[in-house]
C-alpha cells in the first residue's frame, strides 16, 4: 500500500500545509463552476423563466434605485454610520445567538453529508474544514457587500474602502455565527437552559430599550411615519450604546475604514487592522471548534462513566433502543374526534397529516413561543402611545406585517421542512387537497392564535367595538391562510433546501419580501377603493355591512385561491425534476 509517510504532519500541528488548502480552494472552484453552469441551464429552462425575469428585474431596479434615488439623498452623518456598522453587527450577532440557543439541533460547522464524509473522513484537520466552510461564504458575502455598497455609496467618501470594510465585517459576522453554533452545541441540557435564559434576557433588554426610547421620543398620536423613523433611530441608539460598541471591538477598524476621508497613513493602518481581523477570527473559530470537540467528548465520557456506575449499583444496563408502546397524545386526542367527522375519507387524511405536524409543533413549542412572543409585544406596543384611533391601526399594521413577514419563517413546519421526505409524502394515499391542508393547518392555527391574542387585547383596551374586531380578525385570518399557502406554493414551484444560503437565496428572500409588500399595498388600496365605492352607493349600517362582507369575501377568496394554487403545485410537483441538488 502506498502511503506517503514522509508527508505526515505532526499531530500537535493544528493546521494543514498550504497545499491542502489549495486542494480545498480547487474543490470550491470546481463546485462553483458546476453550480454556475447548472444555474444558467436552470435559469433558461421554461419552468424557471419567471423567476429569472424577476431576478433580472430586481437587479435592474436595485441599480436604478441606487443611481437615481439614493444618489440624490443627503449623506448620512459619518459618525452615525460608523456606529451603525459596528453596533449593527453586534445586534445581528445577538439576534443569531438568541435564535441559535433556542434551536435544538446544531450542525457540525454546517457541513453537508458529502462534506462530512469526504472532507471529515479525509486526511484533513478540523481547521481546514473551518477555513473551507468560510471560503464557501466568500462569494455570498461579496455579493451582499456590493448590494449594500449601492445603498450606502452616497454616505462615504470612498466606495472602495466601504466595500472592503463591509465585506470583512460580513465575513466576520458569518464566522461569529459558526462560532456561536459550535459553542451552543457543546452545552448539556442544564447549561443550555441557563444559556437560553441569559441570552433571551439580553435580547429582551435590547428590545425593551428600543421600545422605551421610541415611546420617549415620539409624542402621543404622532403620524405613522414618525413611529417608523423613530423606530430606526431607536435601534441606532441601541447600536451606539457604549456596551454595544465595546462588544463590537472586532468591527471597530472596519467601521472606521468605511467612513475614512482619505488614503493617508491612518487609513492604511485601519486597512491593515481590518484585514488582520479576518485571520484572527478564523483562528478564534478554530480554537472554539477545538474546545467544543474536547468538551463534547469529555461530557460524553462523564455520562458513560455515570451510566456504568448506575448500572453496577442498580440493574442491568440497557443498550438497546428504548421503546414506548403507549399511544401518543395526538392518538389519544384523535380517539375523541366525533365519528361523524371521521367518516369522511378526506377529513381522516387531513387529520392524519395534521397529526404528524402536531408532533413537530410539540417538539418545537418553546422556540415557537419565544419567536412569536416578541412580535406580540411589538404589535401591542402602539397601545402605549395613546391617541384614539391610530394605535388600533398600528396594531392592525403590525399584525399584518408579522403575519406576512415573520410568521412564515418562524413556523417553517410545513412542506418547506419536508424536502427530503417528498418521495414519502408523494407515496402516501392522501389526496393533494388533504395533504396541503394537513401540512398548513397547524402553522395557520398558531398564526391565528397570535393574531387573536393581539387583536383581542388591543380591541379590549381601545374599545373598538365588534365591527372593527370582526372586520380585521376575519381579514387577517384570511391573510394568514393566503401567506402560508403562497409560501408553500412558491416553495413547491421553486423548491430549496431548508438551510440553503447564498446569493440565490438572498435574491429569493428579497423578491418574496417585495412581493409580499406589494400584495399588502394592493390589498389596502383595494379596501380603500371598496370603502369609497360602498360609501357613494350606500349609507349607514348598509354601507358598513356591504364593506364588511365585501372585504371578507375578497380576502377569503384570495386565501382559497392561494390554497388552490398550492394544491395544484403539489399535484404537479415532480420529485425527479423539482428536487434541488444539495
Amino acid at each position: 500500500m502506498n502511503v506517503a509517510a514522509s508527508r505526515v504532519i505532526p499531530d500537535h500541528a493544528a493546521w494543514d500545509g498550504l497545499n491542502r488548502h489549495l486542494n480545498l480552494v480547487r474543490l470550491t472552484w470546481d463546485r462553483s463552476s458546476f453550480r454556475t453552469r447548472r444555474a444558467i441551464d436552470r435559469m433558461r429552462s421554461p419552468r424557471r423563466i419567471v423567476a429569472t425575469l424577476l431576478s433580472i428585474g430586481f437587479f435592474a431596479m436595485h441599480a436604478l434605485v441606487g443611481v437615481m434615488i439614493l444618489s440624490s439623498r443627503s449623506p448620512a452623518d459619518p459618525d452615525r454610520l460608523r456606529l451603525w456598522l459596528s453596533g449593527g453587527m453586534v445586534l445581528y450577532a445577538i439576534y443569531h445567538t438568541t435564535k441559535c440557543v433556542w434551536t435544538t439541533t446544531q450542525s457540525d460547522l454546517q457541513l453537508t453529508a458529502a462534506e462530512s464524509l469526504w472532507l471529515g473522513g479525509g486526511p484533513l484537520r478540523r481547521s481546514s474544514l473551518a477555513v473551507y466552510q468560510l471560503g464557501d461564504l466568500v462569494v455570498a458575502s461579496l455579493m451582499k457587500s456590493v448590494l449594500l455598497a449601492v445603498v450606502l455609496y452616497v454616505d462615504v467618501p470612498h466606495v472602495s474602502l466601504l466595500l472592503i470594510a463591509v465585506f470583512v465585517s460580513l465575513l466576520m459576522l458569518e464566522t461569529t455565527r459558526l462560532m456561536v453554533g459550535r459553542v451552543v452545541s457543546a452545552f448539556d441540557h442544564g447549561h443550555a437552559r441557563r444559556l437560553r435564559i441569559g441570552v433571551s434576557l439580553i435580547a429582551a433588554s435590547g428590545v425593551a430599550f428600543v421600545v422605551a426610547r421610541l415611546a420617549e421620543r415620539t409624542p402621543n398620536g404622532s403620524a405613522e411615519i414618525v413611529y417608523v423613523v423613530n423606530g430606526f433611530r431607536s435601534v441606532g441608539d441601541l447600536a451606539s450604546l457604549p456596551i454595544v460598541q465595546w462588544l463590537s471591538f472586532p468591527w471597530i477598524c472596519a467601521s472606521r475604514l468605511a467612513v475614512a476621508e482619505d488614503f493617508g497613513a491612518s487609513t492604511g493602518l485601519l486597512s491593515a487592522g481590518t484585514l488582520s481581523m479576518l485571520p484572527l477570527t478564523v483562528l478564534t473559530l478554530v480554537c472554539v471548534d477545538r474546545w467544543t470537540v474536547g468538551r463534547s467528548h469529555a461530557k460524553e465520557k462523564e455520562k458513560l462513566a455515570s451510566l456504568r456506575q448506575n448500572t453496577e449499583s442498580n440493574s442491568t444496563f440497557a443498550t438497546g433502543p428504548i421503546t414506548d408502546s403507549a399511544p401518543s397524545r395526538f392518538h389519544q386526542w384523535q380517539e375523541r374526534i366525533p365519528t361523524c367527522l371521521t367518516r369522511s375519507r378526506f377529513i381522516r387524511q387531513w387529520i392524519a397529516t395534521t397529526g404528524r405536524q402536531a408532533i413537530s409543533i410539540r417538539r418545537y413549542r418553546g422556540e415557537i413561543a419565544v419567536t412569536l412572543s416578541l412580535p406580540t409585544l411589538l404589535c401591542l406596543s402602539p397601545l402605549a402611545s395613546g391617541g384614539e384611533r391610530q394605535p388600533w391601526f398600528f396594531v392592525i399594521g403590525g399584525v399584518a406585517m408579522c403575519t406576512l413577514l415573520l410568521a412564515p419563517p418562524a413556523l417553517r413546519l410545513d412542506f418547506r421542512r419536508d424536502l427530503k421526505r417528498m418521495s414519502l409524502l408523494r407515496s402516501l394515499p392522501v389526496s393533494p387537497a388533504a395533504m396541503v391542508l394537513g401540512q398548513l393547518t397547524l402553522p395557520i392555527l398558531i398564526t391565528w392564535l397570535f393574531q387573536a391574542t393581539v387583536l383581542l387585547t388591543a380591541a379590549s383596551v381601545l374599545r373598538t367595538g365588534w365591527y372593527q374586531a370582526i372586520l380585521w380578525s376575519g381579514s387577517l385570518a384570511a391573510l394568514a391562510v393566503f401567506t402560508f399557502a403562497m409560501e408553500n406554493g412558491l416553495f413547491l414551484i421553486y423548491p430549496h433546501h431548508e438551510k440553503a444560503q447564498g446569493l440565490a437565496m438572498m435574491i429569493r428572500t428579497k423578491l418574496t419580501f417585495l412581493g409580499k409588500v406589494t400584495v399588502l399595498a394592493i390589498a389596502v388600496a383595494v379596501m380603500c377603493a371598496w370603502g369609497v365605492a360602498t360609501k357613494s352607493a350606500l349609507s349607514g349600517a348598509w354601507q358598513q355591512m356591504a364593506f364588511l362582507l365585501g372585504t371578507l369575501a375578497a380576502a377569503w377568496g384570495m386565501a382559497f385561491a392561494a390554497l388552490g394554487l398550492t394544491t395544484r403545485a403539489w399535484r404537479r410537483y415532480d420529485i425527479s425534476v423539482d428536487a434541488p441538488p444539495e
Partner: protein, 246 residues
C-alpha cells in the same frame, strides 16, 4: 491492521456500542454482521474517525486515533451505506479531488482503470445527481480504492449493486486483501459475504457476541451449517428458520 480495545459509543442516553474489542491483521477480511441497531455502522464510523469513541482505544495501521486522527484517515477509507456525493461535481471531478487530497500519484490513470473496472467509464462527465443508486455506490468505492488505503471499511457495499457489480466488488475486495489491506465489510447479505470473509464480528445490541475466524463460528454456537445458521444461533439463540425447516 486494526486493533480495537474496549470501544464504546454513547449517544445521549443510548449506548450504541458497548466495550467491543477485536484485532485484525493485514490481509484479513472481517464480516461485520448483526441485526439492525446492533451498532455496526457506529463501530465503523468510530473506526473511520468520523465520530469520536466515548471510551476505548483504536489503533489503525499503527496510528492511534486520539494522537493523529488525520494520519489515520490517510491510511483508511470508509464507504457508508448509500454514500453521499457532492451534488455539484461530476464523476471525474470526484476522483480528481480524492486523488489530490490523498496525494495519489498518477491519480487520473488509476481513476480511469477503476472506472473501467466498475463499468463507469462512460459516466466520467456526468453529474453525481444523474447517477443511479448502484452507480453512486460504485463511484464511492472507486474513490475509496483510489486512495489505496491500508484499511478499508465498507458499510453495506452490496446494496443497490447489480450482479456483475457485486461480483466485481467482491473480487476487488479479495485482491485488495491479498495486496495487504485489512478490510471490514458490513452486510446483511450473509450468503454473499461468507466466501470472501476470513473473520467474523457478530454484534448484538452494541455488544460483540462473537469475534474470530469464520471456521470457529459454528464451533462456538454448536451449529454445523451455513453462516446464516450460525448467525441466527449467535443473535437469537435459535437455529435459523431455514435450518429448522430442513
Amino acid at each position: 491492521m486494526i486493533d480495537v480495545d474496549g470501544l464504546s459509543k454513547l449517544y445521549e442516553n443510548h449506548l450504541a456500542v458497548d466495550a467491543i474489542s477485536f484485532r485484525l491483521h493485514p490481509g484479513q477480511i472481517c464480516g461485520l454482521v448483526g441485526p439492525n441497531g446492533a451498532g455496526k455502522t457506529t463501530t465503523m464510523r468510530c473506526l473511520a474517525g468520523l465520530i469520536p469513541a466515548t471510551a476505548g482505544e483504536i489503533n489503525i495501521a499503527g496510528i492511534d486515533v486520539t494522537t493523529d486522527a488525520t494520519e489515520l484517515k490517510r491510511r483508511l477509507t470508509y464507504v457508508p451505506d448509500d454514500p453521499p456525493l457532492f451534488d455539484d461535481l461530476t464523476v471525474g471531478e470526484h476522483l480528481e479531488f480524492i486523488g489530490r487530497i490523498y496525494d495519489v500519484e498518477d491519480a487520473m490513470t488509476r481513476a480511469s482503470e477503476l472506472l473501467n473496472q466498475f463499468d463507469l467509464a462512460t459516466k466520467y462527465q456526468a453529474g453525481a445527481t444523474t447517477l443511479s443508486r448502484g452507480m453512486r455506490q460504485k463511484l464511492a468505492v472507486c474513490c475509496a480504492y483510489l486512495a489505496s488505503p491500508q484499511v478499508l471499511l465498507l458499510d453495506e457495499p452490496l446494496t443497490g449493486l447489480d450482479p456483475p457489480g457485486i461480483r466485481t466488488l467482491l473480487d476487488s475486495i479479495r485482491r485488495r486483501a491479498e495486496d495487504g489491506a485489512t478490510v471490514i465489510i458490513s452486510s446483511h447479505l450473509l450468503a454473499m459475504i461468507q466466501d470472501v470473509c476470513s473473520h467474523l464480528l457478530v454484534m448484538k445490541r452494541g455488544e460483540a457476541v462473537f469475534f474470530g475466524h469464520k471456521s470457529e463460528l459454528n464451533q462456538t454456537f454448536g451449529t454445523t451449517g451455513s453462516l446464516e445458521e450460525a448467525y441466527f444461533a449467535a443473535t437469537t439463540g435459535q437455529a435459523s428458520p431455514a435450518a429448522g425447516a430442513s
